[in-house]
C-alpha cells in the first residue's frame, strides 16, 4: 500500500454564512498525480489554502507527509512545494533574487538548486531580469520553479496553467508528467480544465459546492460508462425505427453528429443490434465503443449534485 502523502479528514471552512468547504475527506498517495477538479467557486482554492496553512479550517484536519498542518506547520511544509493561485513575486527584484529569498525560507536548499529549477522551467537565461518585466506565462513558470525549490516530495499546484497560451499549457503539462515520472514527486493539481486533468492525472477528486462528489482512478471513473456505443449507418431514420423495437436499447445523443447513432447497450449485445439493423436494410459501416470522457463524468456528477441540493 503506497504511503499517504496528503490527507484531509472532515475539512470544513465557512466564510460568514457561506460554507466554502464542507466535510472534505480525501487521500493522495505517494506517486499520484492527483487532479482536484471542480467548477469555479467549488472550494478548490480554499482547500489548497487550508492545506498550505494560509487559511484556518473551522473543523477537520489536513495532514501533509504525516504532519498536521495546523499543529506542525513547519514540519508539514518542509518537503512541500506550493503554487497557490496566481504566482506573485517581489517585482523590484530579479527572478534569481526572488528564488534566493524563497530558498532561504525553504530550509537547507543548496545555492545551485536555484539554477536547476530555473533550467527546469526554461528561465535560466532570464534569471537576472527584474520580475516586473516578465509576462504572465513566465511568472507562472517562475511560480512552479519556486514550488520546486525545496526538492519537494509533494507539489501542490493551484490552476498551474491558468492564463497560459496553448504552448505554455502543454509545457506545464509535460513538466508535471516529468516531475511525477523522473523525479518521483507526488503532484496535487487543482484545475477546472478537464482535458488537462485527463491528460496528466492518475487519480481525481471532484468537488462541487465544497463537497467531494467523486474520487478515484481516472481510468476506473471513466470506465463506469463504457457501454456507450456509436453505430455509423447510411439511413439514420430507418435505424431509429428498428431500435425503437428493441426495448433494452437506450438511444443517446450522438457525439459525432449526422450519420451516426449512439446508444447504451451491454457489450455482449452489440452484434444483436448490428444484425437487427442489417436485416432491416440499414448498412452499418462502423461500430465504435465510446469511452466516457472526464468531461461527461464531471458534467453528470455536478448536475446530479445540483439536483440533489
Amino acid at each position: 500500500m503506497p504511503e499517504v502523502v496528503l490527507e484531509t479528514i472532515g475539512l470544513t471552512k465557512s466564510f460568514r454564512k457561506r460554507r466554502a468547504v464542507d466535510d472534505l475527506s480525501l487521500q493522495v498517495f505517494e506517486g499520484d498525480v492527483y487532479g482536484f477538479l471542480g467548477p469555479n467557486g467549488a472550494g478548490k482554492s480554499t482547500t489548497i489554502r487550508m492545506l498550505t496553512a494560509l487559511v484556518r479550517p473551522n473543523s477537520g484536519t489536513a495532514r501533509l507527509l504525516s504532519h498536521d498542518v495546523r499543529r506542525e506547520r513547519v514540519r508539514a511544509l518542509q518537503s512541500v512545494g506550493a503554487l497557490v493561485e496566481s504566482p506573485t513575486f517581489y517585482k523590484y527584484m530579479s527572478a534569481r533574487e526572488n528564488l534566493k529569498i524563497f530558498s532561504r525560507l525553504s530550509g537547507n536548499c543548496e545555492a545551485r538548486r536555484i539554477d536547476q529549477v530555473l533550467e527546469i522551467v526554461g528561465l535560466l537565461d532570464r534569471a537576472n531580469d527584474k520580475v516586473k518585466t516578465f509576462s504572465h506565462g513566465m511568472l507562472q513558470r517562475l511560480g512552479i520553479a519556486q514550488a520546486l525549490l525545496p526538492n519537494p516530495k509533494l507539489v501542490i499546484l493551484d490552476e498551474p496553467t491558468s492564463g497560459l497560451d496553448p504552448q505554455g499549457m502543454k509545457d506545464v503539462r509535460e513538466l508535471i508528467s516529468r516531475l511525477a515520472g523522473d523525479e518521483k514527486v507526488t503532484v496535487f493539481l487543482s484545475s477546472h480544465l478537464l482535458h488537462e486533468v485527463e491528460q496528466v492525472c492518475t487519480r481525481v477528486g471532484i468537488i462541487n459546492r465544497g463537497r467531494l462528489i467523486a474520487e478515484g482512478d481516472v481510468g476506473r471513473l471513466l470506465h463506469c460508462d463504457t457501454d456507450l456505443v456509436e453505430f455509423v449507418v447510411n439511413r439514420v431514420d430507418r435505424a431509429l425505427e428498428v431500435l425503437d423495437g428493441l426495448s433494452w436499447v437506450e438511444v443517446q445523443p450522438s457525439p459525432s453528429g449526422r450519420g451516426s447513432i449512439a446508444m447504451s447497450i451491454p457489450a455482449e449485445r452489440i452484434s444483436e443490434v448490428n444484425r437487427a439493423l442489417v436485416t432491416a436494410g440499414v448498412e452499418v459501416s462502423a461500430v465504435i465503443p465510446k469511452a466516457g470522457t472526464l468531461e461527461d463524468l464531471f458534467l453528470e456528477l455536478t448536475r446530479e449534485a445540483g439536483h440533489a441540493d
Partner: protein, 275 residues
Amino acid sequence: MLIELRLELLKVLRKPRTYVGPVAMGLLIAAVLVGLKYSHPFDNVQKRLAQDFIICGSFVNAAFLTRYLLDGIVYMFLPLFTCVVCGDLIASEAADGTLRTLLCRPVERFTVAASKYAVCVAYVLALVLGTGLAAYLAGSVFLGRGSLVLHEEGIWILPEHTAIERLLAAYALVAVGMVAVGSISFMISTFLSNSNGAIAVAIGVMYGSAVIGQIDYFAKLRPYLLTTHLDNWQHFFAGALDVQLLARSVAALLIYSALAFLIGIVIFERRDILS
C-alpha cells in the same frame, strides 16, 4: 530568525519608498540650513544682548539647527515616513500576494512578523537619529558649533556639551515615540490588505490623539494619549529636567509599542490569508 531578519532587511533596502524619508529629511535639513544662514533671524536679539554680555559666535549654530528642526518634523514628516515604511511591511505583501508565497514556506508566522517588526524599529531609529546627526553635522560645517540659546521662560544658555546631551536625549525620546507610531502602523498593517490604508489609519490615530489631547472635556485621557508623551521631548529644552516625567513618557511609549506589537502578532497568527 536571523535569516528572516536579513531577508526582510534586504527587501526593505531594495524598495524605492524606503529612501523617500531619508531623501526628504536631507532636503528639509538643507532648506532649513539655507534659511537660517541667510535670514539672520536672531540678529536683533543678539545685538541687544551684546549691550550687556560678551557674545562669542552665533546663536544660529549646529545645536540650534538640530533643535529647531525637531519642531518641524515630529508631527509631520517623521510620522509620515515612519508609517510609509512600517505600514507597508505586511499590508503591501498581502496586497501583492507575496505574503501567501512567503507563508507557504516552512517558516513560523511569528518569525515572519517579528522580523518585519524588527526591521521597522531599525528603520525608525535610523531615520530619527540619522536626521539628528545629519542636521548637527551639516550645521557644524555651515553654521559652526557652540552653545544652545533657548527662549523658554527666559533665556537659557546651554553649554555645547550639555546641548549635545539634551539633543541626543530629545531625539532618543522622539525615536521611541516614532517606534510607537511605527508599531501602531505595523499592527494595522497585519489586518489590512492595503498599505495606504495602514498608513492613513496610523497617521489618523496620531492626529486624532493630538486633537483629543487639546479638548478639555477629555483632560482625563491625556496621560494615556500617545501625543502627550511624544510632546515631552520639549522638556529637554525647558531648563531643569523633570526626570520622572520623562521616564514616565518613555515607559508609556514603550508600552504603546509593546501592545501594538503583541496585538499585531496575535492578529497575524490567526489571520486567514485570502489575498
